[in-house]
């Protein structure tokens, strides 16, 4: 399998606090990679470094390299805006644009990235909402406000919005942590359905979720990557004592 992302010597800071320490990790193409660890371990910061969204926060710094198909997204010639078009992101709390309708939410990324053709936009919106398994629920109210949807629907809308700009990688930062179990199950199903087409990196604090949805798992602790392996190996045969303690519920 090809390596979609190669992360080398990645460090990140908030002001003087180092949030990530020398992370080295490869992400397989068309696989689901889960990032687990206790709160404050740097897992969210890690995925936020992969699409250069970490740097928009005040006082945030990054160094090291992240190679996307062999090209460093942190090189001086790389435009972060173009990086983010190729590496999409779904956030922890559903964040649809509150002043836009459902349709406009999904269309926003396409339109604001320069596409003008009405038919094309409508097609892509419909396709994306269908892929996010939301179509049947919203097809009659596409022009209603997105904030009227339930939390789980909003999150799937956010996934549709991300899919609509046709990224290669989708980062998901605890996408189900704010949702009820049924919505969570739908999101997990959705991940299974779309993983053929995308490379997915998902942060989760829920180890069962990581075990269910991912092919690879990385365990983070205090800003360091403790262990990275196939998910089956991590959960059945962890190499590191700390990983074992965490997955067996001894801390975290």
């Amino acid at each position: 399998m090809a390596k979609k992302l190669i992360i080398e010597h990645l460090n990140a800071w908030f002001g003087n606090v180092q949030a990530l320490k020398d992370i080295n990790l490869d992400i397989e193409e068309n696989g689901v990679t889960a990032v687990i660890g206790p709160s404050g371990c740097g897992k969210t910061t890690f995925v936020r470094c992969l699409n250069r969204i970490h740097e928009v926060v005040d006082n945030a710094k990054v160094n090291g390299s992240v190679l996307l198909d062999g090209e460093n997204i942190y090189s001086n010639t790389m435009d972060p805006v173009l990086v983010r078009r190729r590496i999409g992101m779904v956030f922890q709390k559903p964040n649809p644009f509150p002043s836009m309708s459902i349709f406009e939410n999904v269309a926003a990324g396409i339109r604001l990235n320069g596409s003008k053709k009405k038919n094309e936009i409508a097609d892509r919106v419909e396709k994306s909402i269908k892929m996010s398994a939301l179509w049947d629920e919203v097809k009659d109210k596409l022009y209603k406000s997105a904030t009227a949807l339930s939390g789980g629907q909003q999150q799937r809308l956010c996934i549709a919005r991300t899919i609509a700009i046709e990224p290669e990688v989708i980062l998901m930062d605890e996408p189900a942590s704010a949702l009820d179990p049924i919505s969570t199950a739908r999101i997990e199903e959705l991940i299974q359905q779309i993983k053929e087409r995308y490379t997915i990196v998902i942060v989760t604090h829920n180890m069962q979720q990581a075990a269910r949805v991912s092919d690879y798992t990385g365990f983070f602790l205090l800003g360091e990557l403790i262990e990275f392996n196939k998910t089956s190996d991590i959960f059945t045969n962890p190499k590191d004592k700390k990983t074992e303690d965490y997955i067996t519920g001894r801390f975290g």
């Binding site: 969204i53 805006v81 956030f91 964040n95 990324g109 604001l112």
Partner: protein, 281 residues
Amino acid sequence: MNSFSYLKRRILNRFMLFLSYGSAAFGVVILFLILSYIIIKGASSINLDFFIKLPKPTGETGGGIANAIVGSFIVVGIASLIAIPVGVMSGIYLAEFGKNKFASLIRYFADVMNGIPSIVTGIVAYVFVVVPMHGFSALAGGIALSIMMIPIITRTSEELIKMVPDTIREAGLALGIPQWKVILFIVLRTASTGIVTGIMLAVARVGGETAPLLFTAFNNSFMSFRLDQPISTMTVLIYNYASSPYPDWNAIAWGSAFVLIIIVLVVNILSKMFTNTKYSL
């Protein structure tokens, strides 16, 4: 003894709370007193002519304030044309790029500007515009009002743009949308209901101003659409006609006050309903 002091405390309590209710009643009563006088005295001078005719010379009855209504809209229009872009853009700067010393200075200056007495604003616009143009003008009036509007719109826009959560900005950026488009088409749009309301309130407020217009827009007995000529406004007209010894003119002042207060109150109540029902993040 003990029960006596308890009684005293109870009586004091009753008395003070009674005063508090009384104060609230006073505020409400004063508002009704003012409004009812304006409505009763004003409504009687209102008819169709009032809106479409020009003022009559002294001694003749009838006539209207068409020129002053048009003039007020022109002057407030000029002020809005200047103050809305300056105010909203400054608000964007303060909210999106405003974490530095320079922005704090701008904020401070906007507050200073907001506190300038309106009559002083009039003098300033006189010196800025009337003196170089060698005459009173609608433009000078508009600029005077814009000096009052700019700080209001700036600080309102800043507050409302800041209320848009960062997660919305990040959602936009994560879609590969450039920052400038995120600000203009996502953040500003999210804040737009509130900003529009703020602008409406600012317009209503300066629309009721008189002092800044006395020696800028001045007045004009005729219909004028020219920006470089003096122009009549409802507020200055009220002032001039109220101070005149002729009852007919006083009546026109009441009529104009009626029109003015209706506009001001409607805008205020509308904006209140607007914010209560629609504005939700």
